[in-house]
């Protein structure tokens, strides 16, 4: 075997080798070639299932969103019409104060009198007028009315009460003949004021049967059924 000549490396070979050993250099070499891991095989099925689910959902969501919007619009429209009707009814009832003779009745909050309280006491304590805070479309002018003084009346505890209001002579000329019928209810279940106008009746009938019973009867009787 022939002996081949040997060559000496550079004097800096050891330093160069040490440089390669440096941590940063080795890091730079190995980081791009780090071993890779394989995921489980079932992942692809999960991905496709998720993709299919997301394909379906948007269509369903769009339809449901559209249905929800339509439902909200319909509901708001219906509720708006209902509230408008209510406002109209309220206006009919409170638009004009009902005139009885020379005095005018105005809405006051209803309170059930106890057995010991008298009507007169109630009349004094209760506020005379009801001032709405916000004006409606057709605002109501508040008319100052003379304070009504009524004789003291006591209510007994019996179920059926009759209240007799003493005679109040109203000149016949002042009583206006009208087609309107006014009913006031103090019932606990449905208190309120009802105005009816029987249009079927003619003016001639009115002439024959005058409405003002106050002129005929000297005594007005109110029956309270509890």
């Amino acid at each position: 075997m022939k002996k081949l000549p040997e060559y000496s490396p550079k004097a800096s070979a050891w330093e160069d080798l040490l440089k390669k050993v440096s941590f940063e250099r080795q890091l730079g070499n190995h980081l791009p070639t780090l071993p890779q891991f394989a995921p489980q095989d079932a992942v692809w099925e999960k991905i496709t299932a998720e993709l299919d689910r997301k394909k379906v959902v948007p269509i369903w969501l769009r339809w449901s969103a559209a249905a929800a919007v339509i439902a909200i619009l319909l509901f708001s429209l219906i509720s708006k019409f209902r509230t408008d009707d209510k406002f109209q009814d309220q206006e009919l009832l409170s638009e004009k104060p009902i005139e009885v003779g020379n005095s005018s009745l105005e809405a006051v909050p209803f309170e059930t009198p106890t057995s010991t309280e008298t009507v007169a006491a109630n009349a004094e304590n209760a506020p005379l007028k009801f001032y709405p805070e916000e004006k409606s479309k057709r605002s109501i002018e508040i008319i100052a009315a003379p304070k009504m003084t009524l004789p003291d009346l006591e209510l007994s505890q019996s179920k059926n009460l009759s209240l007799k209001i003493p005679e109040r002579i109203v000149p016949e000329a002042q009583v206006q003949k009208t087609l309107h019928q006014v009913r006031i209810s103090w019932s606990k279940i449905k208190p309120g004021l009802q105005v009816k106008t029987p249009f079927s009746r003619t003016e001639s009938e009115l002439q024959q049967k005058p409405q003002a019973s106050a002129t005929q009867n000297s005594l007005i009787t109110l029956e309270i059924n509890n």
């Binding site: 780090l34 071993p35 995921p39």
Partner: protein, 176 residues
């Protein structure tokens, strides 16, 4: 490499929601995506969740990708962000003492990729994430800080801490 086999035709088919093309892209890139997620999280189950979320997002939003040649980088970005989202709750950034800063910097040992991988996975979650994002994925410290909700200087100090720990762990692994 995956990049060479992901040609424009395949990307076009994936954009057209072709299921076969989607599967082909998945097969070509699943190891890359999963390995990145697994190294950041060091948890197989969560890494699988990240893999799934990443591919769902890729297939749904690939039509918006302006530069198809940047597909692999884009997928890595999605993976890293998804992994960080998942890891954020468990990330704790240890405060570094001055003693650790002055620790021995001398390193004389040969190591390979396998050993480096083991050492990386043994790092604490916070410094491991910073190391992976900066050293492996090449994110700047500013962006890493934004992603992890830490300052740029914290990101830098966490990287130095990770490297010091890596040296120690590699030495320990070599001696074992």
């Amino acid at each position: 490499m995956e990049k060479e086999r992901i040609d424009l035709r395949l990307i076009e088919l994936v954009i057209a929601q072709d299921r076969k093309a989607q599967f082909q892209l998945f097969e070509l890139t699943k190891r890359m995506v999963y390995s990145l997620a697994f190294r950041i999280l060091n948890d197989e189950d969560i890494a699988h969740d990240v893999l799934q979320d990443t591919f769902v997002k890729v297939f749904q939003e690939i039509k918006n990708l302006k530069h198809p040649e940047a597909l692999v980088s884009w997928m890595k970005t999605i993976t890293a962000r998804k992994a960080v989202e998942k890891a954020k709750r468990q990330l704790v950034f240890e405060k570094l003492s001055s003693a650790e800063d002055q620790s021995e910097d001398h390193f004389e040992a040969w190591f390979d990729g396998e050993l480096l991988d083991q050492a990386i996975r043994s790092l604490p979650a916070g410094s491991r994430t910073v190391f992976m994002l900066v050293e492996v994925e090449g994110y700047p410290h500013q962006e890493v800080g934004r992603m992890l909700g830490i300052s740029e200087s914290t990101s830098k100090s966490q990287l130095n801490y990770a490297k010091k720990l890596l040296k120690t762990r590699i030495k320990t692994l070599l001696q074992a």
